[in-house]
Amino acid sequence: MKKELIDITPHKSIMCKISQTGYSIQEAISELIDNSIDARLENEKIVINLEIDDKHILISDTGKGMNKNVAKDSIRLGYSSKKEKLGEFGLGLKTATSFLGEEFVLKTKQKDSNEEYIIKYNEEEWLKSGDWFKFPFMIEEKNNDLHGTIVEVSKLKVDITNELLEKIKEELGRRFAPFILNNEIHLYFNGEECNVPKPDIIEDSKKDIYLKIGKSTVKGWWAYQLAGYNKSYYGFNTFRRGRLVTVFDKIGLTNNQQIKQIIGELEITGVNITHDKKGWVKTSEEYKEIEEKLREYFKEYEYKPKRLLTGYPASKGKVIGTIRQVNMFHSGNMEKEIKKVNKGDIIVTAMTRPQFLIAIRRAGGIITDLGGTLCHAAIVSREFGIPAVVGTNIATKVLQDGQKVIIDGGEGVIYEY
């Protein structure tokens, strides 16, 4: 047998190809924020600023910054000195920036250092004349106490729309909720602080959960959600080391969730995640054990409740809520009636009227005595995506103010809660 030693230096295009992992823009940005979070100083709250316009994406932080060696290694593919941290795979900076744009600049400085380290990457230049062994690394003298890292991505490959900006802001608050709630980070997006969105849940159904299975743990909370439209929008946001891994994860839940919609947040330890950080390694023994334990735990909360009423299924969706009897007749006191309806309540009325729009929009569901496909309640509930059952004949007589029920607008059934 003859043995030859061959050159397996990666092809230069790998720097561009690594970004093709099916990222969403939010996920790519989160990779960069992960790095900032990893760089936070002990006992000091880090400020992370994210600025996005149609030309640039800029992330700056007040973290500890990188020393010379770490800064040099940051551009190396797959290199990471971090263990048990968010950026443990050493790919995030390269994949995320390459996904977002053709060009990026990284500037980093530590507090006690007089040097700022700069890395500039341009996809076109790299493919034309880049050299794995001679990548430019710049050092600039800086005599100040400032510290932290800035990553600026330009020549964007992604379209930035207003709708996307709204989505990013909302999602960042949810993704980094544990860090924000723990007071570990201040996260700003285009000048506004990102807040953690309040989950729409039935407060008194909220329960803490802690399970220890071998070396793994599951800690968090769950509750029945107050309002839900699409049948797949339930389950858990799962976190690993405070960073969101999956949303609406159905781990441990069965199909009976069609009736009761459980949502919650679970911090899971002791289970590996996939290298793109978008999921758990489901084939691992640890994952399977956790799934089984959770299934056992949730079994008792998944009973099928008793039917109270049926009617015409006017607008699909299932929701649990508190009954509010609302008199929408012209002769009623409109203001008093509107005041009764809190967000997520289920309006029970003989029929709806347009002037009650604000109450209708706040409602989690609508049940009427009268009506068919074209009644106002049916039309309005379809327009605004509110589950509704109409034409029950007796809802206003049978359902009590303050009573909690489950409404299934797809089947036209109201269940006991």
Partner: protein, 369 residues
């Protein structure tokens, strides 16, 4: 086209799903001619969308003219005794029955409508294709929603979509910028708990708008402003303004959804043309058009509510007040248009009871009302 509606569906219905005041029991007994009028209209317009729209418009025109005539009669009368008030109510009932009820209830909620909705649903199930049951059901549901919703914005949707423009207009007014920021923060924090404070700021903001006589904003908020007059309170307006801020993100999404409605509907109908037999396609198209027409004319006719109902309910209040003087035990009930038949009549003197409960065999005419 070989669409046919079974004859029995063109007869006067025995039941209507939205008929809270039981008009289906009262009107054919009180005004027997309505049966023939409706059945004639049903034969003529059940399969004629264009004709139905013309019919709807002519009904609306006479409804408005008739209301003005009755209102004038009421205003000109110097002695408004119980007999006069009962007669005015009966005239309003006749007008309502012949020029409102047919389009707004008998067509829109009756058997012809059910026929079209059932066929629409059935044909959509035939049209939609998907590999998995769940995907198929979801697609069926979505297609039904799109076609039943149509590209027509009813009063609810119109208000929500107008809110986008209202907000743009409010943002243009420099004098209210600070207040607008303040009220936005309060609404975002908790619109229910902060309601008193929110309404106070709206009152200040509205003064500025009122002083500048902003016709565009008046027009966009016309549904709320009618309620302000009707209820003699600014709160319906403040609620609408709060809604504008509270649901601003959702309203933008709604706009996007309904901007694309025409395209989606055309796509579905184009696909149906290819996938269904000609007769089936014709029936689907007719079902879509008539379901849309019926929904639309419910709104077109309903636009008179702001004018008709305060007047009519005012008459009922006057009657109630007179009757209460002699009937202290008279229970308090919610009043609707047909209150005379299900409530007030029981407390009228014999001669007026006879007027109310005697059938009127004459047809409706504007001249004789």
């Amino acid at each position: 086209m070989s669409i046919s509606i079974p004859d029995y569906l063109l007869k006067m219905p025995q039941y209507l799903p939205n008929d809270i005041e039981g008009m289906i029991f009262t009107y054919p007994n009180k005004f027997p001619v309505i049966i023939n009028n409706y059945e004639e209209a049903a034969k003529k317009y059940a399969m004629d969308p264009e004709g139905f729209r013309e019919y709807g418009n002519s009904q609306k025109k006479e409804l408005v003219e008739g209301l003005n005539k009755i209102k004038n009669e009421y205003e000109e009368c110097k002695i408004k005794d119980l007999k006069f008030l009962v007669e005015i109510d009966q005239k309003l009932n006749k007008l309502f029955c012949f020029r409102f009820w047919i389009v707004n209830y008998l067509f829109a909620d009756g058997p012809i409508h059910s026929f079209y909705v059932d066929n629409l649903k059935m044909l959509i199930r035939k049209l939609v294709k998907a590999d998995e049951t769940e995907k198929y059901e979801a697609k069926v549901e979505e297609t039904i929603q799109i076609l039943l919703q149509s590209d027509y914005a009813d009063e609810y949707l119109e208000q929500a979509l107008n809110c986008n423009i209202v907000l743009e207009e409010l943002n243009k007014i420099d004098e209210i910028k600070e207040d607008l920021n303040k009220v936005t923060k309060l609404i975002d924090k908790d619109s229910m708990k902060n309601m008193d404070e929110i309404n106070k700021i709206w009152s200040d903001i509205w003064k500025v708008i009122d002083n500048s006589n902003n016709e565009k904003i008046y027009d966009l908020l016309h549904i709320a402003l009618v309620q302000v007059k009707f209820r003699n309170s600014p709160l319906p307006l403040y609620n609408t303004l709060t809604h504008t801020i509270e649901f601003r993100r959702e309203n933008l999404k709604l706009k996007e959804k309904y901007d694309n409605m025409n395209l989606k509907i055309n796509e579905i109908l184009e696909n149906a043309k290819k996938e269904l037999d000609k007769d089936e396609y014709d029936l689907l198209k007719m079902s879509y058009e008539q379901a849309k027409n019926f929904a639309m004319y419910k709104d077109v006719m309903g636009a008179i509510d702001g004018k008709l109902l305060p007047f009519w309910f005012g008459i009922h209040d006057e009657i109630k007040e007179i009757l209460r003087k002699t009937n202290k035990n008279m229970p308090i009930k919610s009043l609707g248009q047909a209150a005379m038949f299900y409530y007030l009549v029981w407390y009228l003197p014999e001669d007026l009871k006879a007027i109310v409960m005697t059938p009127d065999f004459t047809d409706f005419s504007l001249e004789n009302i």
